[in-house]
Symmetry: C2
């Protein structure tokens, strides 16, 4: 939303130029509370783990009413998804502009391998949060669309042809929390999962 300070002279026409269908902008108190809640939640996670992040607890820790938590984040899953997005921002930055081979500058194939490895590790690292975010993590979860998009980009760079969206999903799936769940139950070590994934990538890309 673009705010134009009132033109002092005559013709004191419109002052707000809402871009397309931009949401009406957040009220100050609302914004303040969002931040307070996010920080409170982070504090709770750090101190007592994801399980301790109760809606009541967060509300209390942030010094607001419970209703406020729900108005801001819709549900517990929504709150978790918000935490997740925050956590993954740094990772995204390193993909977009960090050092190679994860960041730009390396050969596509090497970037792909680095991407897979890094994604696998990040998923494991955030596993608790991802599970707690449930479906919200794939929905509003900005992180996911980024991941899928980048994968499509890498596949295109590698000259892969076909339904890139579907191929990207297929290549990403074995690195996602729900699938990893299945794997870890059998006690397979991470390195083997990665090795299997590389083999898969080779077959898909055609190397």
């Amino acid at each position: 939303m673009v705010v134009v300070t009132r033109v002092s002279g005559e013709m004191s026409e419109p002052v707000l130029l809402p871009l397309a269908d931009t949401p009406p902008a957040e009220r100050r108190d609302a914004a303040r509370n969002r931040i307070a809640l996010l920080e409170a939640a982070e504090r709770l996670v750090a101190a007592h783990g994801v399980a301790a992040v109760t809606m009541d607890a967060v509300a209390h820790e942030a010094g607001v009413g419970k209703g406020t938590v729900f108005r801001r984040f819709d549900s517990r899953e929504g709150l978790m998804a918000a935490l997740l997005n925050h956590s993954e921002t740094e990772w995204q930055a390193s993909v977009i502009s960090g050092p190679p081979p994860l960041g730009p500058g390396a050969e596509p194939w090497d970037r792909l391998l680095a991407f897979g490895r890094s994604r696998l590790e990040t998923t494991i690292l955030h596993a608790e949060l991802i599970r707690a975010a449930g479906r919200a993590s794939t929905r509003s979860y900005a992180a996911y669309s980024f991941i899928a998009m980048h994968m499509r980009y890498l596949l295109a760079e590698l000259g892969v042809t076909g339904d890139l969206q579907l191929l990207a999903i297929a290549l990403l799936a074995p690195l996602e929390a729900p699938i990893l769940d299945q794997v870890e139950l059998d006690g397979i070590p991470v390195d083997r999962v990665y090795a299997g994934w590389v083999d898969l990538a080779r077959r898909i890309v055609g190397r």
Copy 2:
């Protein structure tokens, strides 16, 4: 567990030969209640959908206390997983001994394609239940191990070499509910998902 009827003559020795660490066998009332609960739950699903399957509702419908429901199935997810297993039994039978190409008798490649298609449809059909079963659906969910095992078998038949377990997971992943969730959000039609999966299979199998 093997039960040997008492030998009428002398030497009236042991009567129960528990195999290895077989659980102590279910008491009559327990067994009766398990069935009553399962049927009650099925009735509720049929009548009002998965969402209406409340633990209280099931208990009431089965004419049993709530505690009993939990003792039998551990949790709501556990109950859902049980329902799921029941639903999938028929499908499993058609894979094991039904008509080709899903059942035995067809070429491995054709069986693989039929398997993928059928699995995709079944997942969509049971989507609600699968979601409601959550993690229990991959854990105790007997159905899943069957699926994975059959996929490994087909890959082996096709002469695929490598980490078959991992490849099976990768090939199955795009047909699973959580991944399908992502796809359906973008409104991709089922046929396209299937086509994408076939392409994936081709690349993995090497055709």
